[in-house]
Every structure is written in C-alpha cells, then in structure tokens.
Symmetry: C2
Subunit: 347 residues, 2 copies
DNA sequence: TTGTAAGCGTTATCAG
DNA sequence: CTGATAACGCTTACAA
C-alpha cells in the first residue's frame, strides 16, 4: 500500500488494453482456454478456470467486441433511425424498440437524422458496412426511397410508422392512419362542422395521405387542403397566410400532426380567434404536449410505443437467423382523444 | 434486360457479402491495391483504379467496418448515454452532441437507459469492449458512480449536465445550476414571496443540490424541502401529500425541473388552487412543453444544446488523439424565463 | 482437459 | 505503381 510513484504520463495516453493473449500468458494457458473459460463453450477444469478468472480480473480484461463480431459475422446491435428525436412521438417509439431489442439480447442504437439526408446516409452506411445487424427505419423524408430500395433486399430492415411509397415487400409496422383520419372526420361531422381546413404532411408520405383519405371520406363536407411539412412552423405559416388573404372560412382545422396543430393554434390566437369557440382544431399523434396545451388538444392517439416494439421484435426474428425479412404488415389501432380544442359548430 | 429467372430462395438468406478479396480477384489485382483505390492512401494508375471501381460497383462491395476498425484500433463512433429520451431536455442535448460529433467526423449513437442500471451497464460495456471510442455521459442515477469511477481513468468519458458526486478529475460540461437557483430565488423574493416549497431531485445528484443551494441563498425566506425524483409523478405526489395533511402554507413552489413542476401544477389544480393567483410555480430546464403549458411555466432555461455540444467537442479532442481527457470544467450560462405561472404574493 | 492453427476482412510494412 | 505478408483480437475446428 505504499503510494504509487508519480509517473508523468499516468493519465493521458491510453495504454494498450489487455488482450486474450496477455491473459493466456499470465495464466499459463492457451488463448483457447481463456476463451472457453469466458464463454463456457466447453468444459474447463475448475482449477484452471479459477486461475484464468483471477488473471482476467487483475488485468481488467474485457474481450474486444470488434474482434468477436468480426469472427462471428454479426454484432448483436441494431439501429433505429428516426428523423427528430425531440418529437416525443419518436421518443415513445424508441422506447418500444429499445425494450424489444433488450428483451431479445440485442443492443439498440439510436440514429437521429434531423431530416438531414447526409446523416441518413451516414447511418445507413452502418448497416451496409455491417457495423449493425439490422435497422428499424422510422424516417420518412421523401428522397430516402431510392436508397432504401437498394438496401431492402440485401439487409434486414423494417419500416416503422411510415410506409414508403413504392416500397413494396417490406416488413412494416404502422398505426392505422386511415382509421385515425376517419375518426376525426366522424367527430367533426357529428359536431356539425361542414367546412374544414386540412393541413397535410408532405405528399410523398403515405401516412399523411392515409390520414387525409380517411378524413375526407368520413367528413363528407367541404375540405380545403394545404400542404405542410409536419413542423410546427408550417402549421403557423399556412394558417397565417390563409388568414391574411381573407379569412379561413372554415369552422374546423385538422392538422396532420400535433406539431402543426400547435402552430395553427398560435396563428389563430394571434388573429384573435379563440379555440374552440370560434374554430375547432384537431391534431394527430397525441404527443405529450397535446394534453398540456391550452386548450388541451383533441387528437388521435397513436400507439407509438407499440409501433416501435412491434417493428423491432418482428425484425429481430429474422435478424437472429441471419435472414432478410419478407413483406408483412402490422397495423396497430388508434384512438381518438376528445379534449378541449373541439366544440360544436354553432354560431 | 431479360427478367431474372425466379429463384426460390432469392429473398431470405443473406448471401455472404463481397469482401475485398472478391473484388481483388475479380479485378485481377491484389487486395492491397483495392484498399488503396478506395482510401486514396497511395497512388494507383488511373487504369487500374477504374477497373477496380467498376468491380466494386458491380459487386456492391462495401468495406467491413468491423475489420477496418479492428485494424485501426478505433471505430470513430462515440456514445451518448442519457436516462430518458422522452425528456426534451435530453433530446436537445443529444442534438448538440450529434452536431459536434458529425462535424468532427464521428458517428454518435444514443444510449437510452430509462434510468435502468441494467441498460446502463450494457451500454457502458460498449466502451469497455471498445465498440465505441468514447462516451458522453449524461445520466445521473446515483448507483452509477462506482462503475463510472472505474472507467473514468481508462476510457475517454465526458460528463454532460450532471456532475457525479465524488467524481473528481472528469471532463464536464454543465449549465450553471447554482446561478439558476439563485435567479429563481431572487425572482420570487422580488415578488414578495417569503415562504416557499422546494421540490428537489434525488440527493445524490449534484445539479439538484446546486440549484437548491443557489435558491436558498438568494431567497432568504423560509424554505420547506421535499425530495423527489425528477419525474412528473413525484411532483404530483409530493404536493398532494402536503395538501392532504393540512395545506401547503407557502406562496410559491420551486420544482427542480419542469416535469415535477407540471406534476405540482396538476396537483394544485385538482385541489382547486389557481396558479399564479393563489400560488406561484417555477420549474427548471425550460423544456418545450413549459411554454405550452397552462399557465405558461416560469422556469430557468438551460442551454441543453450547448451542454451536449460542448461536452462532445471537448471529449473528441482527446478521443481523436487516443487520449483520456484530463479534468476540466465548462460552465454554461442559464437564463430565467418569466412566464405566467408566477405573480406577486399579495393576498 | 488442453493446445495448435486457421480464419474473420481489413490495412500497414516492407519489398520489388 | 504494385504485391506478399503480417498483424489487429478473437473463436473454432481439429488434434492430442
């Protein structure tokens, strides 16, 4: 227990970590034996095993996962690609994915793209270079389709939440977007609304299209459509612009997601309109802030957690066998949450 | 362009991907040359290079990152460990970290622990087994200290947002928690409040302690303290319990984070108290929902993005040189956001 | 019960 | 300008 003599370079340069050979040498056995002590893949005499374990502890030996994976041909890690980590919808989805991965003995790494094609490429590179065994893809930026297409048949990929147009043959787990739109349509119709503004997401995203279709079909009234991009700012901009050139001329707004609904809410408030007295607003997703907002937002609850969990569990079934998943679709139910932002269309 | 003949097993089993040897053989060169064509590390005749590139494309060859990393001794990927991905504070922090990593040519993988020691262990294993080159650690669950301690000197780790008690010698980037607490104390005092309830985080977390210290010092009034766990439910529970046994007897509540403040808000509302007329409430973090809440929450804005960005950039400076970072502290300024949840203490 | 040697897919070194 | 060969650190036949 005498104090260690001071060594100038004690801290900074990382010493080469102990390898299996170092352990073997120090324990007087072959690397093979060390390997088997650690993996339990074949019997080792208790005496030898104990000695090896002692050395392992003393040296702080941890097997290099890279070498192990290289040899095994797989890393036991998959990725989850999402466009926007601060959208709580994706956060929930990620939790589901993580739980599923964890349960099945896989690591899950989150890849956040910020809707940036560069980053998406980079992360997809991880699967092409086999740094990860598979990928749950929950982004939906339109340009990604062609890239995905090339990967789909060659690597294990599952689509979560968003289906990608023209990508048949994929494993996909998604909420029932169409039914969600329908629920909103029925709700507004029942409240007596006959003219609605619909704020959609980008054309190329199927989920938005499905929501819109379901809505239009069930609403059976007049629908003014404006195309946004799922961001709060676009909801604000779209409504403001409409307001400026002569008013909305609608009694209800259906935004394709909660974020855009918030933007609409702000624009409406700034224009001196009150929700739901003057106009009703409905969102989609039921993110956390929806119930906290003022007024609390009527919206469609998506089972984000389940979408993530299902997509991941399904994918791993194939990944673990070294297979690429065949086409299959898992549609999860949605639920309308009626809150304070919708009211009858009187006046 | 004749249609490919149907093959029964076309889809499922993943064929062994092309290796550098396959490319070399098909191009009639050595693996060395292929490697150099791709890396540009040494001149290759344009003719040979073109031929190699042709084969690379035709075979869809992508270098195996595992092999490359094994050889290089590093993966150019670091991890960011966070406790709760659906807390937008961490989401912002993650964005900052991601941007910094991206700028410096590193990949960043998010490790979400859900405050679960199991998962934390698992993710820390990634750095011990050298699957990642470094880790930005933004969790603060108390039991983690000893584990971290063992890693700290041996692997490149940076602490973000939360310092860990007893862990000296770390690279750490954090908001000025103490100053934040002070700002709240001054604000409430100026409004005439003299008795406040303080909802803290777990004892072991230094950030919470710093906030509390700053607050108590500046408030100079009576402070009732209750220990929570940074989750919404605990804010609700603590306030409810107090309310049940005889009222709060305070004119203001200072919660150690916004989530707990929301919990308090709900509890207060259920008890028929209105904010800020009957009682003022202040949070900490300034997460997205804070401004959306009703009433909008007065809170301390933390530069989450900058914390993530700074911690990561600093860490990478050392990681890229294969060094373990020495102790250093980066304190980032905070800002009080006065909103609708605080008012003068009249009545 | 244990060890030797080959191989996973790269890149660096050295040689031509 | 190009190629053998070794080495990165591990696992796994095959052998003893």
């Amino acid at each position: 227990m005498t104090p260690e003599p001071y060594t100038a370079d004690r801290q900074s340069p990382v010493r080469r970590p102990a390898s299996i050979k170092d352990v073997a040498a120090a324990a007087g056995v072959s690397p093979t034996t060390v390997s088997h002590v650690l993996s339990g893949n074949r019997p080792v005499s208790e005496e030898t095993a104990a000695r090896v374990r002692g050395v392992v502890n003393r040296l702080g030996y941890v097997p290099a996962s890279l070498a192990r994976s290289l040899q095994a041909g797989s890393t036991s890690v998959i990725g989850l690609l999402i466009p926007d980590i601060s959208n709580t919808f994706f956060a929930e989805l990620a939790k589901g994915a993580e739980d599923a991965a964890h349960d099945l003995g896989y690591g899950l790494i989150l890849c956040n793209t910020e809707f940036d094609a560069d980053r998406e490429d980079r992360y997809l590179g991880m699967i092409r270079s086999r740094f990860i065994d598979g990928m749950v893809y929950a982004s939906g930026s339109p340009p990604s389709r062609r890239r995905l297409e090339a990967l789909m048949g060659k690597f294990p990929i599952a689509l979560a939440d968003e289906e990608v147009e023209g990508l048949e043959g994929a494993l996909i787990a998604t909420a029932d977007h169409e039914a969600g739109g329908r629920l909103v349509g029925e709700h507004l119709r029942a409240l007596g609304h006959r003219r609605a503004l619909m704020l959609t997401g980008p054309r190329a995203l199927m989920s938005g299209t499905a929501r819109a279709n379901g809505f239009v079909r069930a609403f059976q009234g007049e629908v003014v459509e404006r195309v946004g991009d799922f961001k709060e700012a676009s909801g604000y901009r779209l409504v403001t612009k409409l307001l400026e050139k002569g008013g909305l001329d609608c009694t209800a707004v259906f935004a394709a997601n909660d974020l855009m609904a918030f933007g609409a809410l702000t624009a409406l408030r700034e224009a001196g309109l009150s929700v739901p007295e003057d106009i009703s607003v409905v969102g989609f997703d039921d993110i956390r802030a929806a119930s906290l907002a003022h007024p609390p937002l009527t919206t469609v609850h998506q089972p984000a957690y389940d979408v993530g969990r299902t997509a991941t569990a399904q994918l791993l079934q194939y990944v673990s066998r070294g297979e690429v998943p065949p086409a299959s679709r898992h549609t999860l139910p949605v639920e309308l949450k009626v809150r304070g932002s919708t009211a009858p269309a009187d006046r």
